[in-house]
């Protein structure tokens, strides 16, 4: 069966919420958002997902749909409550930062100097608090040495497994990093001392290709499986969750999942 690279990434990203139970699932950006919705429909029906504004919906909301048109509202997710909830740990977000480093520290604030940045972006947003209170996974549509940087990211917005940045080297209870989904591979923090390792390679991608596009050494397991293709059921649900085809605009040229 034919499928696009974006659809492969959505199915791979959905896996991150499989064992989370009844928590708030958040996907930032179109593909993680479709992924958390897919996870709710196929892997973890207890997940609580929102319209991105302030409502929890019974069924996940398709991309581009307005909550008042299509969905049953089942709860209120105003920001005050989101903060209170995340401080309690009942959330798993997949976020799409600009940079990540070998510790899993990530950056959405600035490129270059903090006082006079080369490029000012969003600001740290909720990353600092999110990163030490609940699990976070990551999505990168472009896996390059510019996004997977050597050394540390330019401005550490979300905390990673870097003991030098914590008093006594002790990590806060609740800090957890999940998976990293990129257009080349799925990675996690399961190596020695939370080192980043390759979990699966997308069809047609080699470990060397992933390493060459990463600014720090990756752990290489003895055998690396190929990222599973999305099933026919998953592809049909993805199409329902993204009726306007926003997923086709995320990766340049919307390439097929099996590289030629």
């Amino acid at each position: 069966m034919e499928y696009s690279l974006a659809e492969l990434l959505i199915a791979a990203a959905a896996e991150s919420w499989r064992d989370d139970g009844e928590i708030m699932g958040t996907g930032i950006g179109p593909l993680p958002r479709i992924a958390v919705s897919l996870a709710k429909l196929t892997l973890n029906p207890k997940l609580a997902t929102t319209d991105g504004e302030c409502w929890y919906t019974t069924e996940p909301l398709p991309v581009g749909a307005r909550v008042d048109q299509v969905a049953e509202i089942e709860g209120w997710s105003n920001y005050d409550r989101v903060f209170s909830g995340l401080w309690g740990g009942k959330r798993h977000a997949m976020v799409a930062p600009v940079q990540i480093d070998r510790f899993g520290q990530s950056n959405i604030s600035v490129i270059g100097d903090h006082q006079k940045p080369k490029a000012a972006m969003l600001g740290a947003r909720g990353f600092p608090g999110n990163s030490i209170h609940h699990k976070n996974s990551f999505f990168f549509p472009q896996h390059t040495t510019r996004s997977f940087v050597s050394g540390e990211v330019d401005y550490v917005c979300s905390a990673g497994w870097n003991p030098a940045r914590f008093p006594g080297g002790k990590y806060p209870h609740g800090m957890a990093l999940g998976i990293i989904v990129t257009e080349l591979a799925v990675l996690d923090f399961g190596g020695a001392d939370h080192a980043i390792r390759v979990v699966s390679l997308h069809p047609g991608v080699t470990f060397e290709q992933v390493q060459d596009n990463t600014g720090f050494p990756l752990e290489k397991p003895e055998a690396i499986p190929t990222t599973p293709a999305p099933s026919a059921e998953q592809l049909a649900l993805i199409a329902q969750l993204d009726p306007k085809g926003v997923r086709k605009t995320v990766i340049k040229g919307d390439p097929p999942g099996i590289r030629g």
Partner: protein
């Protein structure tokens, strides 16, 4: 009813509110990004002679417009974004020029700092910031040790004391009893409690009975003792939303974004949309009927 109570009247004009502001003040702005920003007040500040302001905000076009108008000395923020245009172009210009003093926080730390000020505490303890570069800033360099058995070392988030808070609400009476009808109240209550004085603009000023507080109590975010003055400003949040009265104006947001392309583009935007009376502004952005008919935006 005694005539003294009936005469109790906090109504002001937008310009009279601006008359209460001073150079160098720390001003908190309610709303969140593209939602319920007191933009009529922001435009009035942009027109004024005020300078050297410190702004505390969950930032949107309020921050960008004041930065472009040269009103900012310092910004206390966790983000500045136009949601549908994630990067706020005027904010970026100001940041990249290196001219802006900043205190960069986490969204929850802004909440926490306002809450400390609201409770008249010097700080509140937190772990938020550990593991990140936020704690390299002088304001987040202080630590406290838990006096209990855990003896945990915590970050002291200093109180974010405001001289003034500026909020936009849907309804108010003349005494400053207010209703905020939008689906998310954000942190407007904390801004008001953290401030020495709070000024609000309201879509409509109505008789107290029309607030129907017994039914609408959940929309009454603050008690009137916090409100120093209230001005009627119909469509006063435009181009941000004040749902359910009206929605985000994506078309005007695009015009605003394009005004950051050059000094000439900004001057043209100013001339058309800022250096004009409020009635002319509403006509320039398409008229009241068009604004109230805008479809709900998708987030």
């Amino acid at each position: 009813m005694s005539s003294d109570i009936e005469a109790f009247d906090k109504r002001l004009s937008v310009d009279q509110i601006i008359g209460h502001l001073r150079d160098g003040m720390t001003i908190g702005i309610g709303g969140w990004a593209t939602r319920r920003k007191p933009m009529a007040l922001i435009r009035a500040i942009a027109r004024s002679n005020l300078k050297d302001l410190t702004i505390v905000s969950y930032g949107g076009p309020d921050v960008g417009m004041l930065a472009a108008a040269g009103k900012l000395k310092k910004l206390v923020f966790a983000f500045v974004s136009l949601d549908h245009y994630p990067l706020e172009p005027h904010f970026r210009n100001a940041r990249q020029a290196g001219s802006l003093e900043i205190l960069e926080l986490d969204e929850g730390l802004v909440h926490w700092g306002l809450r400390a000020a609201a409770m008249r505490l010097p700080f509140l303890p937190t772990r938020v910031g550990y593991g990140t570069d936020l704690v390299k800033q002088a304001e987040l360099s202080k630590r406290v040790v838990s006096p209990f058995e855990d003896a945990e070392e915590l970050i002291a988030m200093p109180a974010l004391k405001l001289d003034v808070a500026l909020l936009h609400v849907h309804r108010s009476d003349q005494r400053g009893n207010v209703l905020t009808l939008s689906p998310d109240p954000f942190f407007d209550e904390l801004f008001a409690r953290a401030a020495g004085a709070t000024f609000v603009t309201a879509e409509q000023i109505v008789p107290t009975a029309e607030l129907n507080i017994a039914v609408n109590s959940r929309y009454n975010l603050i008690e009137r003792a916090l409100v120093t003055g209230v001005a009627e400003a119909k469509l006063g949040a435009h181009p941000t939303s004040a749902a359910p009265d009206y929605q985000l104006d994506l078309k005007h947001l695009k015009t605003y974004v394009e005004s950051a392309a050059s000094p000439e583009a900004w001057a043209a935007y100013r001339a058309s949309f800022i250096d004009v009376p409020d009635a002319a502004y509403v006509e320039a952005v398409g008229g009241a009927d068009a604004i109230t008919a805008l479809p709900r935006a998708v987030y």
